[in-house]
Symmetry: C2
Subunit: 278 residues, 2 copies
Amino acid sequence: MPDNGVDVSTWFNGQPGDRLSVFDRGLAYGDGVFETIRITPQGPVLLDFHLQRMRKGLDRLGIDCHWDSLEAEIRAYPGLRQPAVVKVVCTRGVGGRGYATSQVQGPTRVISTHPLPQYPQHYAARGVSIFSCRQRLSINPTLAGIKHLNRLEQVLARQEWDSDDYQEGLMLDSLGRVVEGVFSNLFLVRGGRVITPNLEQAGVEGVMRRWLLDQFASQGVSTHVGQITLQDIQLADEWFFCNSVYGVWPVRQWENRTWAVGDMAGRAQQWVMDHWQF
Amino acid sequence: MPDNGVDVSTWFNGQPGDRLSVFDRGLAYGDGVFETIRITPQGPVLLDFHLQRMRKGLDRLGIDCHWDSLEAEIRAYPGLRQPAVVKVVCTRGVGGRGYATSQVQGPTRVISTHPLPQYPQHYAARGVSIFSCRQRLSINPTLAGIKHLNRLEQVLARQEWDSDDYQEGLMLDSLGRVVEGVFSNLFLVRGGRVITPNLEQAGVEGVMRRWLLDQFASQGVSTHVGQITLQDIQLADEWFFCNSVYGVWPVRQWENRTWAVGDMAGRAQQWVMDHWQF
């Protein structure tokens, strides 16, 4: 059994292997992208959305990834066929010192399988408590939306709490606008309308966020992608976090307010459950 | 000969080796720092300043690096004793999936030797031409100053030009303030006063910048660390870039202006030459 605690081998450039060159630009500069894919008994969750985001990220970074063979490699990975979490990393490849990319040999691909996270069932059923992170998300329109490997802001934010009292952290951008959680996106509801932050300047466009936006719209719920302030959260009828690994977590408590599990979070959870056994 | 083109072995965690785990957080999140040290016949350039910045960066990221043994390991590396460029990378180490750091085993250290860059001598003698990068540096006071592994902004900026017409690129922060070059710091001179951008919100505090600030001050030159605009550059009597690998490059041309090699750049180059044979 590999040291990641599951019985599917890690793939390095399409072959079993779990070591890479110390000269890889993924290490040197975080020069690459990744995806974290939940595998359920019904198969991978939103695999096409994950692949689309990865391709968009590689394009944005100018990484020539030979997309068709990368996609074929991911789809052939045995880990996609048993419940687990599969992580795919694609970097620009191996190169010399210096930021210039002209001499880089790549891309480098790593696909690995990880145990399912063991979140208590009450996070989804009764809601979660949210920490307010001091670490801000910096504004960078080129990097916003994509899931690149420059993740120090999330690492620093996640270090701010270490108790089980909080299940997620709320992150603002450097101008104080609400963006997302440390490892999730968020929605809030007011007057029957579902609102989620615009991610054109900071944040990651989560695949579950994208899917839920589609679901709400197709069910006739009014949706809005826009600017959200802390005041908007205080005034929300309900709010919830989502990602494709855990699904939907309603917020029970944040700062000096509590919320009951709301109708929209319940509907979102039901849609998820109608598709996948998480 | 290792594949980095020089005859000193790469060290991985204190032993010869050039592969690391794909589960290293340096790859996953850029969760670490690095230094690039020029080795001259007179020894490493500003080694103590490099070590101080690395330690500061590790502290800032909350990486427990067992500093004394890390410093001893770096000082014992054979590559420090022959002209070359030595790169030191220190990451938080190997951990599972997810941003939390509590289960990480580390730190991971990589020390490698690289060929000396072959810059034409006229860059220093007659000056360089500067590209204006569109990519901005995002504002993040926690990450500013240190040399962390989240370097996508530099990678994207360096991709903006590929001709030999430009030797360095000028980078602004997201508010339009002048910060640094893609791989250098900068100074400008006006009315006999030497000015360099404040790096408390963005940028890397270069060791050569630090040393030159000390040199200017000790030679009675008025120095100022503050906010610099594009207008300030247009009005500069001279300006120059510096780093510890190439020393000092006066600016010959930028946008619609040209400059002669200035007196302050010449003095800075002389101080460098008095210490090290670059």
